[in-house]
Symmetry: D2
Subunit: 391 residues, 4 copies
């Protein structure tokens, strides 16, 4: 209740296109809502499916003008680039193996890309896209959306500014249970492609959620990985990718950790949890209650910090819309990535430097995520030997 | 993760105006975000302030065309009603004493009204507005936004369908702490008007948050109030309205309850909590963790139901956008009111019946809320005697 | 793990007798365990039932010598007083209407009394016992056992030493669900006598658990009651005493509060909760997680204080046996009352002053508790009028 | 409140001695309280220290007759064995490296042993003691006390009776923070011996708390370990043993898990947590809130089971003294081990079979625990290679 004044000052809407996200999709709708929340974008074009009629139907669903609905993303990139009112940015929300193609097409036309994670299905593709994005005259934003939560920003600030002292132990886990049974046999499309190595990549749970967990640990601590040792399992009979993984982590500088991701953890929805222990204090955060950050200063009682509340600094206040105690959630965190992307896009348009507070995940994070999956698979094949990321 | 398909099918945007919500406002931004989330509205006009230059500046902030920014809501109603592309609905987000005027102006022009709560600052105004709204050929929607939370819908369904048995006890509380010190002396505008009887009404905490708590109890249980006994306090020296209230409730049919609202409950942000106990089971819900509903069937362990998760029925799934475990929050709950309003506006436009599942708070709830505040004040003045609502 | 050294220094066992607590009893076993935990007592005599064979059987169960098992508490008081090795203290754990008789018998023989709550079934009896105990040359200890929890002692210290500032609001509740159905018809002996006005007193839930809640609020805050307004219900058909009560409280000095007790709150076991809000801070404590005290200093994050942990002062450390994080529970809290009684008994024996840190509930608390029940019943009969305690 | 009848039927006290547990000790007092709670033991002899005057002083503290206080446990074993009223059982509560000697001395005299964990400081000693105990005509009870918690018994029953389906994943962790700083330099005796390899063994956190975590996972699931891979750290400068450990677990039959133990996890007291995920359901238990067991049946909401409450079976009710909602804690769980030991001692005395429900940890668990520490150290020395227990 302590917040005064409008936080939604309007700076003109960025023209946005979308690749994927048609009627069968899950994450497309999330991207669209996220793009709308702070009013920085307007969806004006899309290639919602590679089947023309499906793309058209989805375009109609979404109020996109018929002549800007495409069935081919290359065509879309060309035509939109040629229009005066063509899209300035595109959201790529296709399955993992269809990230590289569209990203390349749009980046090469100078159109900014907001891409879902993991970056690609293979490390080879990831390397290729990394080069393209690095060379391109357009921004590349990866939606590791959990980094957008305000209390994750607060945790990051505390970890990296020394409040926690020397970081010793990092515990991160992302358990779900939606694949505890062989859902992929039932026609559920999310399960189908996410357990298909050709579309999802060699990692199952490691790619889908392990990359989120890994990215979050890296984002908050800033520590670089030295090596990992992974033990991957496929518990559900017939499953072609891992559905559970235990990973031991060694960071440069001496910190150690473990990462657990699972899609067979019955009783858990999306229980991503990060805990960082330093010599002077600790922080603990749970995605299912994201407005709270537990801070344990050594020798003092643990403190329940709340989004927007007492003790939260500038980093944590950024991306907060409403007073403490009024929960913001997943969509708002996701929207923060989109809003930071908008800030960067405008800065680039205006030829000014991007505010250093803008910290959305980039193509580097994307490549590292795919390298993380690759390393997990390699290590697990070698009886959980220590391996380094192959970047 | 189990949700497939787009939930954001586009049905054309409703042209929306706003009264209030300029640069100094808090709730205006909330209404704007809520209206955008599901893409049912487009803000195209506004009277953001009664000071012309302030209104203009705010309009510019928000991307509203200059010729549709007004400093007088009567003028706005007239001019917008006269346009072919005039607004279809208006959000009224001014302080309580400035609800009646705009609502009257727009309703009389057949423009639908979405109005913040409490309905008005006085019972007299509430009665007047009730008559106007009832007679009008336009819809009136009151943003008791907590009713929009999916797990509140689930609780309501369980309470009213008999799952809980005969309801015996209702405990509702809304403690905050933002007014624990005399903030109204410091230039904080929210504190200023919310503690000013002339603008806020005779009730302080009772009007600002007690009405929410009362409405939520009524919405979930469906029980009608027989009488209440209230003991109101103003703890902060110099405060002109109540900042804490204890209210005992007697419902028709024999259920009893208590309501506590406080703005001096140090340590609490917006800890609205509702508990309903019946002869066969209970439900418990906390606004700060709104994706969870605790259900206690008699003789069995308490169950943690989650938004979109196992055991949630149609009523609870309505207004849910993303999978369980990915928290939706205050803004999404608020958006559900706006989206149901859109559904009703379109049904009215199309001359079809409104889906009975649409359950946004109405003018009746608004009148009852102001009568609740009035009854609290009357009872407390009479040493907490039992009084009935004066409706 | 930070605790060093034995906390159980042995000072010789006090010879203890018991009245009540035979085979059908619940609370007798609790008293016996509580008396043993810190090794201050030895049970050597008892009148476990007024039926001789039942008393004998229970005595045998408990290892009490046959010649010290009685069926008549008057006889027991006389014979034990006459022995050189007679009991020094007696625990009275009979139903409420059989507290006065034994207490009188033993006190008049100079034998210290540890008595279960509420003090008596009627206010008349309570007054009589108060006079007897006040005049006696023996101690009277009332087992409002929740006052023995270390974090309640910590809360008390914070409330009374000014850490919380001026106390404004007190919220206390004690909901259970074990009487949500008409258990008293089924032969369950606890339900039988606790819902029988002749044995339990005029209050049902108010006497059984409301007195605990009231006492706890008084104990922690130190505030004296000015008046209360109570609305009592008997929800279960055929029930002869209240099974739910809503009570508004006015304390001397201006603090206000509410008390809710219920035995029909489906889903709750023994969810006694106390919240105290002052001008500078608040504390919150829940009996079901008694090792935690939530402390909310104004303008700072809420702190999770733990028994024996950082920030806990001398008052809170007293009565703590093991390191933080190793939960102590109900029996240890109860044992703290017994251990403080032992300390007082030894001081009296040695003719020295009792340590002022000893704060077990006394005959005054007992009389006030019965007066509280009486006031609730009187107020409720008079439509929840404000009444004062009749002490 | 639903519990009727005395649960503390007296069967005569077992004469108990103690080795260790003098004035500087921590765990000795815990054993003494645990032995008293259910009135099955009487402490009548002790060798509380190897320094005669210290032993005498401690004996006096504890009310032990002077002639039964010893400074030499061999002498104690001989003299007590020679007395008609000699001890029947002895509690060994010395540092780890002084378990073998006393255990041998008493077992060889036919005196039952209750011994603290880990079994010994070295695997060699553990093997020797295992042989002695297996051959002895006396019982050997190891106080892995967490197995005594009623809700752990309930979890075990659910895991082993098939309620959870095939067990897939086991997550166990035991983080503390009391050694986050170099406490061993400060004269704190607990820190001194627990970080001294000569007294504690090669494992630090692995021996002190890792063995508890490992034992708990084994006790609940019944799964046998196939291999483990461990990464051990000593974060605090100068520390001679591990203070943090990450261990990956492979169980026979295909289940996998991780174990994390830490004594540098700032913000945590004794946060032992066990989670077991099967194909049909999961359980989760936290030592700091031990009266709750979270049960997640697949496809249904998670249930909050409480000690003594609805849905708890015979295994879970065993060792429960008081009604649900009245918390029992660490000491009661510990007492359950002592009470089961008493039951077994009496059965042995009477020449009858021990009730199969008696499930206290045995010499086998002791040997396995030391082998677990040994395996962790070996694996970690070999760069976290997979190793088997050397039993």
């Amino acid at each position: 209740m302590a917040i005064e004044g409008s936080s939604d000052t309007f700076a003109g809407r960025i023209r946005l296109g979308m690749v994927g996200g048609g009627r069968d999709a899950f994450i497309g709708a999330v991207h669209r809502i996220a793009s709308r929340i702070d009013d920085h974008y307007e969806l004006v074009a899309g290639c919602f499916s590679s089947t023309p009629e499906k793309s058209r139907a989805s375009g109609a669903d979404l109020g996109v003008a018929e002549d800007r609905v495409y069935a081919d993303f290359v065509e879309m990139a060309e035509k939109e680039a040629a229009r005066d009112d063509g899209i300035e940015a595109v959201a790529i929300v296709t399955p993992n193996h269809v990230h590289l193609g569209p990203a390349k097409a749009f980046l090469e036309k100078g159109i900014h890309v907001v891409c879902d994670k993991p970056l690609t299905a293979t490390l080879e593709d990831a390397r290729a896209l990394h080069k393209i994005a690095t060379d391109a005259d357009a921004l590349f934003v990866l939606t590791h959306n959990y980094t957008g939560y305000p209390m994750i920003r607060q945790a990051r600030d505390m970890a990296q500014s020394g409040v926690l002292g020397d970081i010793r132990v990092v515990q991160v886990e992302y358990p779900q249970d939606w694949l505890a049974e062989p859902l992929e046999g039932t026609g559920q499309k999310q399960a189908d492609w996410r357990t298909d190595p050709a579309r999802s990549g060699a990692g199952g749970s490691t790619g889908d959620i392990g990359t989120h967990a890994y990215n979050l640990a890296r984002f908050v601590t800033g520590l670089k990985l030295d090596a990992l040792a992974a033990d991957l399992q496929s518990f559900v009979p017939g499953r072609r990718v891992d559905d559970n993984a235990h990973v031991m982590l060694r960071f440069e500088g001496g910190a150690r950790g473990t990462l657990w991701c699972s899609q067979v953890a019955v009783g858990y929805d999306n229980r991503l949890r990060l805990r960082v222990f330093g010599s002077k204090g600790s922080v603990e955060w749970l995605q299912e209650e994201p407005n709270t950050l537990w801070y344990g200063p050594i020798g003092e009682p643990v403190r329940r910090m709340t989004r927007g509340g007492a003790g939260v600094g500038e980093a944590g206040l950024r991306g907060s819309r409403i007073p403490p105690g009024h929960p913001e959630g997943y969509l708002e965190g996701f929207a923060n990535i989109y809003s930071e992307a908008a800030e960067a896009i405008r800065a680039k348009r205006d030829g000014v430097a991007i505010d250093p507070a803008v910290t959305y995940p980039t193509i580097d994070d994307g490549l590292e995520g795919v390298a993380f999956v690759d390393a997990c698979v390699r290590s697990s094949s070698d009886d959980a030997a220590w391996v380094k990321l192959d970047i």
